[in-house]
Symmetry: C2
Subunit: 337 residues, 2 copies
């Protein structure tokens, strides 16, 4: 990324995805991706006293599962990069406390998992880390009461609202010459704001940022959408995915609909009343670590572009009549045979 | 940082601090460092309708001043790394929106500025960025009502409480062979929790994390405290600084008191009723960019170790009876003649 104007890191020594793990909540466990997750929670409290403590425990378990998968102890982990939607990212930092791993706290709202992959891969490829635990989580119950209303109120959700996934994903990146899944490029997005003021309409707020980041990625790398077997957005949902296709079409960017899936739109059946689809940091994290990376490993896909998106607002900014700015990060994950 | 167990990045191509800027609020402008800040605010609302909007505007101005100092436009800035204490880091992300710069949102509580230096320097030294805007801010009025009580209540502050600085600092790092201030090493801390449950006693919560990070830095680099002209902690305050000296003494780590200053303890006169000292992301950021880097440039100091510390709690975690975990990051800044 030394070229002026480029937003994309091309990794000289692409790190290996040495292991990955995913945990999904009870509702997510009844969706179409159920069989792909590594752990399904029977109960969204995980035996804890509060949903926030439950989310911390979910992150801790998911990171531990990824470390186990790579046959590593927490002492061998050089850094944990991650975040979540809780104020002051307490789910990730309290999980890092119990793991004792050097911690790099990130906040990119629902794009945090892909942000962690992009930064973690750069630190490994640059020779600064031997390995990095990249993770992000969300929990429906912690997010609703923090961003919107206490669940106890039973507030009706508008049809454009998405459903914050109770889920966590973790990918363990490692400097390694071994063949396997490699993170080959990462793009850092800009904050884009087309003046959406409906804090329930995440798809509309984030689609322009995804379009901007995707365009930058393709232009920086000289690639076309067709060079990827699949482009997976994080959590635009059904409506946001359509808006992205519309933006691409208006700008003359070739984006074949059959190449484009959305993790949020894949997480739930429409009958599950998740409205516009799944969302939250844990959505793209768990779907990437639980489903997409397994499809890459199985040979079903070879080149994946994962584009995480986030809405960088807070209840305070909305109460102060600010619009909802979006951001996106993109990571190319490719199978090296 | 490829050595197992090491938490320190040794930059092969140490980036240059091409420019730095600081903005401080009215109370900070009456403190001992008043003459050093680049802009003093006459009014903590900056002509905005709310304190949050004022903080966004303060960040935007500070970043713009650093870009101007390096004679760069925002289009030439490759990335902005930063964060703040507001929920969902809205001050930094809304400032990044108005600047149009690719954005890497970080959260390390009051350590965020040093975290940005550590990550930004690694991305530049690793060849992934040509330059990076590293910034962090805090605002007394946004932080108090979010973390503690609405100011209008006039709640009495306990003597161990610190005063969140209304301030912002920004350092523009650049890949450059030119002589000047260089970021030569960075250490990523672990989350350390000695079970402090008083969310007003930040010094006590963060001192153990600073001790852990400082010990790791010295051990990883094979340096002694004496190899630095000055070790500046972020915002331990008067009490936290004493606790750090006590921890060092108990562990047999040589830490001469005359080498150790604290940015928070330097920001206010004791008569200003800031109690334990200044704190907040903007404290270490503005003191480093306003005072310490100028002392390095003036030849008064040659080797500085800046250790930012943060308390990774939220009001929710405190209400749920969780203790206050701390984190710290260290960055070595040296003048190359």
């Amino acid at each position: 990324m030394s070229r002026a104007g480029s937003q994309t890191f091309l990794y000289d020594r692409p790190p290996l995805v040495a292991a990955h793990a995913s945990v999904a909540g009870p509702k997510e466990g009844k969706g179409p991706l159920s069989a792909w997750f590594d752990e399904l929670l029977a109960d969204d409290l995980l035996g804890q006293k509060s949903w926030e403590l439950a989310e911390m425990e979910m992150v801790r378990r998911c990171v531990q599962a990824a470390l186990n998968g790579a046959r590593m102890t927490d002492e061998e982990a050089q850094a944990m990069l991650g975040g979540d939607l809780n104020n002051q990212i307490i789910a990730s930092s309290f999980a890092a406390r119990s793991l004792g791993v050097p911690f790099i706290g990130l906040y990119g709202a629902c794009s945090t998992f892909v942000q962690a992959l992009v930064i973690g891969a750069a630190l490994i490829s640059g020779g600064y880390l031997e390995n990095a635990v990249c993770t992000a989580s969300s929990h429906y119950c912690t997010a609703e009461r923090q961003f919107r209303f206490p669940l106890e109120l039973g507030t009706q959700r508008p049809p454009q609202a998405s459903w914050t996934a109770t889920a966590c994903g973790c990918a363990l990146l490692k400097a390694s010459p071994e063949r396997g899944l490699k993170v080959t490029a990462g793009t850092v997005g800009r904050i884009i704001d087309l003046n959406i003021s409906d804090a329930n309409h995440m798809g509309a707020a984030m689609a322009p940022a995804v379009f901007d980041c995707l365009s930058a990625h393709l232009s920086d790398t000289g690639r076309k959408a067709d060079d990827y077997d699949l482009i997976a957005t994080g959590d635009l949902g059904w409506i946001g995915r359509d808006l992205l296709l519309e933006l691409a079409s208006a700008a003359g960017l070739e984006l074949p609909p059959e190449k484009l899936i959305d993790c949020g739109a894949s997480l739930f059946y429409q009958e599950q009343d998740a409205h516009a689809g799944g969302s939250g940091c844990g959505c793209v994290a768990s779907v990437a670590c639980g489903w997409l990376m397994k499809r890459l490993e199985a040979g079903d896909l070879k080149r994946l572009l994962l584009v995480g998106s986030g809405a960088m607002f807070s209840p305070t900014s909305s109460q102060q009549a600010q619009s909802v700015p979006g951001i996106a990060y993109a990571a190319a994950i490719e199978r090296e045979d």
